[in-house]
Subunit: 312 residues, 2 copies
């Protein structure tokens, strides 16, 4: 079988899922910049609340995709989606004609630049539902969840996507194939669009406090995202707002990924989550004033951060 | 003439305008809590960029309105309008039957609780357009502007309001009487509603940066405030948004009062400026999603501040 995997942008998410694929028997290499030295020397230490602890020693640990030896069957891109990361440049030198490119990334409408750059490769768009942090160089803590949703953008009946899913399943993580991965992205955005910016703009509130105090507003932002998805021909289940609210109410207080990035001084995925959604709305002529307000405020917040010091 | 004036809530604004009235020959006393000792001893030192510097020694310096000797012709309330200040309690013990109560305060729809508490007194509602700071105990720096707009809520033809205006004019400060002070309040709110919360929620941007980066959003919030004012039967001039934008473009970069309060850890006038406007919109059935987003975010920001430490 085709089991040569290259993970690009191997932080916590990439290291974790790469480590799972290695457990399942795949030949997994990583492009890993920030923790290169330690990972090269001793691999990743992964401590999972649900899957035990293990050492993940990649076959090749690389600073750049160009250094990859051999041809990848799967190139899995796990970087954040931010303006300071050129995702095409990050993977270009390791994309062979038969390489399937899989994204495990946040946001909506994030596939276009990869489709343009690699029109002849299979593109698998994927979403991770996971709590997973880098707690030290080369050390990853998996706290909870872990489900993956994968989907082909072309809806073609090829075998690469089911094969990748099977590898993840073999490693013990939930993984499903979505027939409409674009709708799945919008569905995740319904949750991300209110909670991510509200957590940052409030100065650090967790999900519970936001929901308990401003449930109506959260619902309105969620509904605006549903309206945009529908206008983009990806209507979401009619109970999606309700089920997201119920789910959030049942979750322990949770710090969003954007809040964690903010607290660490990292670039936030404002454009991938909010900017792309607002631009889709504008293209479709859908009014989304609350979502747009959050987007405006995040842009101003980021402007203020940039003007008071460099982002890491 | 009736020249006995008591200033309640005498911080920078109250000390400045009280000092002007004293210059004009009025008998001015103050209720002043935080700087009581130093003001009792040596009065206020006022340094104005446009009116020179002077010492303002109030006739009576009081901790409480109840200690006032004599009866005030004018009781001028200059406190902030926040939930932690009971404005009625602050002045009640010094309101005589003939006392005219004047407010020099921010916000919209802030008169109701005073009208209810003192139905038989003349209520003069006033707005100050001023840059003025307390730079040390008992020391006030007046940086720019200073115009006052005064208006009777009852539109009655009495002489107290023109007389108060004349005192201010005599002291050298611009002061006009508005025939529709409620509309004047909404007009000021058109500016305050976007710039105040955006400056705080962005983490500290001045007006210039906000306008240069998000002019369309600022205009939309301004227009929502105009729609509310109109629904409340106080239509604003049709060019009000344009003229506020032009004015702001011509101003030097400016830190809003809400941002200054935020930076000093003081309570912000969120309810007086945003909450009252949103509630008026709800009462009138006017949709104001951008304004409401700002209000929601300010409430969450304040919740986060309260949960991380006491407000000063």
């Amino acid at each position: 079988m085709n089991n040569k995997v290259l993970i690009a942008g191997a932080g916590a998410i990439g290291g974790f899922y790469g480590g799972l694929l290695a457990k399942a028997g795949a030949d997994v290499s990583v492009v890993c910049r920030s923790d290169y030295d330690i990972v090269k020397q001793q691999g990743y230490r992964i401590e999972s609340a649900t899957l035990g602890s293990w050492q993940f020693m990649p076959s090749q640990v690389l600073r750049n995709a160009a250094d990859y030896e051999g041809q990848a069957d799967y190139l899995i891109l796990c970087s954040k989606v931010t303006a300071d990361i050129d995702r095409v440049a990050l993977i270009r030198d390791a994309v062979a004609p038969h390489t399937a490119i899989a994204l495990i990334q946040n946001g909506v409408e994030i596939e276009h630049e990869l489709q343009q750059a690699f029109p002849d490769n299979l593109l698998i768009s994927g979403l991770a539902f996971i709590c997973c942090n880098r707690i030290a160089p080369g050390k990853i803590s998996h706290l909870a969840y872990g489900k993956l949703i994968l989907g082909n953008l072309s809806n073609s009946h090829e075998l690469n996507t089911p094969h990748l899913r099977d590898l993840f399943l073999r490693a013990g993580i939930e993984c499903v194939i979505s027939e409409d991965i674009i709708a799945s992205r919008w569905q995740k955005c319904v949750w991300n669009a209110p909670f991510n910016p509200l957590s940052v703009l409030s100065g650090g509130l967790a999900t519970q406090a936001i929901l308990q105090n401003q449930e109506n507003f959260v619902r309105r932002v969620m509904q605006e995202v549903c309206n945009i998805a529908e206008a983009c021909s990806h209507p979401l289940p009619t109970d999606i707002v309700e089920s997201h609210i119920t789910l959030t109410r049942e979750m322990p207080p949770y710090k969003t990924s954007m809040l964690l990035d903010f607290e660490r001084g990292h670039t936030m995925e404002t454009e991938a989550i909010l900017g792309n959604a607002v631009r889709a709305a504008q293209r479709q002529g859908v009014d989304c004033p609350c979502l747009q307000s959050l987007y405006v405020l995040m842009q101003l917040r980021e402007l203020q951060i940039r003007s008071s010091g460099p982002l890491k």
